[in-house]
């Protein structure tokens, strides 16, 4: 035999470290920077308290329209000149909106970072926002959402969100829907900018700090800003439902059914963050997870199935997501429910947890090599008020979590009997079987 039969052991691990952090307060704002010696590119994010949660009812998508309008010209130059100036540095802006924040990210070669941040600040703080441009961007966004909603998934996501979070902002899609975006006015966009984008915020930087002047970056990012940070709102109230419901979203002719099974769960600050993350990893996070193993590797029903908790400042939700072949929609759901049930009732095993622990811990090195990844990690620290030594401490908590702790978290935070099961697929083919399966009342989505 030419192969080595014995599996090799483990070499000596280097101690885990997170990059050194530096802080500079300037111009009413704070720069938080991670030192990555030798990197040619640097990344920055200007993070503002201007998340989608601030949007008015019926105008969901206002922040997204604003984000997409920022590059339609500034007080200093028109949109074509702005694009040439920024892209001439090799940089592009990535504005994004989430529930808790509004971010504008960019990356550039280290010597060009200051110029790129100056241009980003120009667009964020002093955009032109001409009425005609804002209306055109809004109409384009309505069209873009229609394009997106023609894919499998977004309508199922919106249906699940609405069912779990009810009326109000959190029950509506993060970026709004075609109707709410169409209702956004120029005044909505201007008011959102005035209220939320002129406060200093926080500038996050990752790169070779030996060649980066943090004070100059801060002056560029915070110049001309006013106002204070908005005090954080507490978590939303919620309870677990005591029955299941199935909501059918019709997609005629669909060759797969898109599954979104979910329920509410604790927000990011929960003391159970580590054990519920590990429980979800065993159930549906890793490739060898219970769900992926059974539904993909044994049954061949899907290309992939995932289960996870998403946690923001004010809410959390558990979700299982998959696309399954239409003909096996009901068997796939039944098997999925079986695995959720089993995990909730019996917890996890030491063998499974060993994989989850090491994977989560190792990913804190493997997935944090680049300035872009590190600057993203900084944003998590700031958003959730976590200490500078959070990542080393998180790694330790993952590695030390016990079967009892993780099983207890699964028992407490999985609610298979309170799930909402959204099924987006060819209703004419799957409806009768779904009803007959008696999983829960079958309703038709109003979407």
């Amino acid at each position: 035999m030419t192969l080595v039969a014995t599996r090799p052991g483990t070499g000596e691990a280097r101690p885990y470290t997170f990059p050194e952090l530096r802080r500079v307060t300037v111009g009413g704002g704070t720069v938080i920077a991670a030192h990555l010696p030798g990197q040619r590119l640097a990344s920055a994010i200007l993070m503002l308290d201007a998340g989608a949660a601030h949007e008015a009812d019926g105008r969901e998508g206002t922040a997204t329209v604003l984000a997409k309008s920022l590059e339609e010209g500034t007080k200093a130059r028109d949109s074509a000149a702005y694009a040439l100036a920024l892209e001439g540095l090799g940089a592009e802006l990535s504005p994004s909106v989430d529930w808790d924040s509004f971010r504008v990210g960019l990356s550039a070669p280290v010597p060009l970072l200051l110029d790129a941040v100056r241009l980003a600040a120009e667009a964020i703080r002093t955009p032109r926002l001409d009425a005609a441009d804002v209306l055109r961007v809004r109409d384009d966004e309505v069209t873009a959402l229609r394009m997106d909603w023609a894919q499998p998934g977004p309508r199922a996501d919106a249906t699940l969100r609405s069912d779990l979070f009810g009326s109000g902002r959190y029950g509506r899609p993060l970026h709004g829907d075609p109707t709410s975006v169409a209702a956004v006015t120029v005044d909505d966009v201007l008011a959102f900018h005035q209220a939320w984008l002129l406060r200093p915020g926080v500038l996050l930087v990752a790169g070779d700090l030996d060649s980066i002047d943090l004070a100059a970056l801060g002056e560029a990012a915070f110049g001309g800003t006013t106002g204070e940070a908005h005090p954080a709102d507490g978590p939303l109230l919620w309870s677990v439902r005591d029955h299941r419901r199935v909501i059918l979203v019709d997609r005629p002719g669909s060759v797969q059914s898109t599954l979104r099974l979910g329920h509410r769960s604790p927000e990011r600050a929960t003391p159970d963050y580590v054990p519920i993350t590990l429980a979800a990893t065993v159930l549906g996070g890793a490739f060898t997870s219970r769900l992926n193993h059974l539904i993909r590797e044994v049954k061949g029903y899907t290309y992939g199935i995932r289960g996870s908790y998403a946690m923001s400042r004010r809410f959390g939700r558990f979700e299982v997501a998959a696309g399954v072949q239409t003909a096996v929609t009901v068997p796939a759901i039944v098997d999925t429910l079986g695995e959720i049930d089993r995990t909730q009732l019996d917890g996890v095993t030491e063998d499974e947890l060993a994989v989850a622990r090491s994977w989560r811990a190792g990913q804190l090195s493997v997935e944090m090599q680049t300035p872009g990844a590190i600057v993203g990690a900084l944003s998590t620290l700031v958003l959730h008020g976590l200490p500078d030594d959070y990542y080393p401490s998180l790694r330790k908590q993952y590695l030390e979590a016990t079967v009892e702790q993780v099983s207890a978290a699964a028992a407490a935070h999985l609610h298979p009997k309170g799930l909402t099961l959204v099924v987006e697929g060819d209703a004419a083919v799957i409806r009768d079987e779904l009803v007959a399966a008696n999983i829960g009342d079958v309703l038709d989505a109003k979407i």
Partner: protein, 409 residues
Amino acid sequence: MVSEDRSSPVVCVNLWYDVGSRHEPAGQTGFAHLFEHLMFEGSVHVTKTEHMRLVQGNGGSLNATTNPDRTNYFETMPSEHLELALWLEADRMGGLVPALTQETLDNQREVVKNERRQRYENVPYGDAWLRLLELLYPPGHPYHHATIGSMEDLNAASLDTFKAFHQQYYAPNNCVLTVAGDAGKDEVFALAAKYFGALAPVAGIPPAPSSHLAGPAKTPARETVTAAVPAPRIYLSHRTHPFGTAGYDAITVLATILGNGRGSRLYQRLADGKRIAQPDYIGSYGVDLAHAPAPLIITATAKDGVDVAELEEGLAEVVASLVTEPVTEEELSRAKALLTTAWWRSLSTVGGRADTLGRYATQFGDPATVAYRLPQWLAVTADDVTTAAAYALKPESRVTLTYLPEGEE
């Protein structure tokens, strides 16, 4: 190959096998990719599911991809698990066949069929790439069929075919092993010798079917598809030059000038300017294939109420402008700045670096040639772009694929 970098305590192990869908004979489309799936299902000393469990269960990330040219496998691990990764790769290079079972094949065939449904059949415009390849490359050409393959061929796949496939192509003399990151070359070379050193080379690996094509097509091709799509969309495509040639470097810069970013000609003239194209869905890019003239793809989606003919005319005008309106210094430097950032970003992870080195070693025989790519992009002149456009983007060599929403034909 070893690229030592101690900045993070992680290491990537990457293998490029010089076999892709271009090697597939008629009736066996999709086999190279389905085979890639089988490589994760166990080998002589690794039980089914154990490969994934050992990599993820030691903190690693892993994947594999198949394209027309080649198949690559890679895992990035905390560096104390380098030896484990090499052992796993050697075991499936040298010991896959005895572990292959009908049950595994049947299961992964269903997984791949679901991959095809999810990526190509169940999404609007999802089959564009499959259609473009058939229009760009003549029947029988190794790039004519898509890597995902046809349902019919996948259904017909037999276990013996896959065993033979492995024995033919999964040999040390058909593979480049690259390790990048937190490991030194002496250590890696010793470990490579230990785990791969005794694997026998395979004599007489057959070359892929001839892929020679004399540049762009001589006659245009056109297909119009009426389907469940939300808006009319056009793909224009041309065969250009093979990846790795000076001509393709000019095409890469051209694609960036034409359709990458808000400052590109397509964005400025059709999304802004005439406002006939949706700003989120306009662009152009080359597909970096090395064994025949590679495609340039140009795409735009009509705004509400815009006639598809008007959009096509607009696209054709902007493409023609690359010849009639010389590229300005500002356009050229914008494109080079964006390409520079993209280049360094692609090398900023150990995974990206290992894969790039593996590509250059496999396709050009020398990993050191990787150092020439960025300087060659930066050396492209405005004249080079005009010449490339005049050569490759003629209307008579154009493939035009148009999608129309149902009920609007």
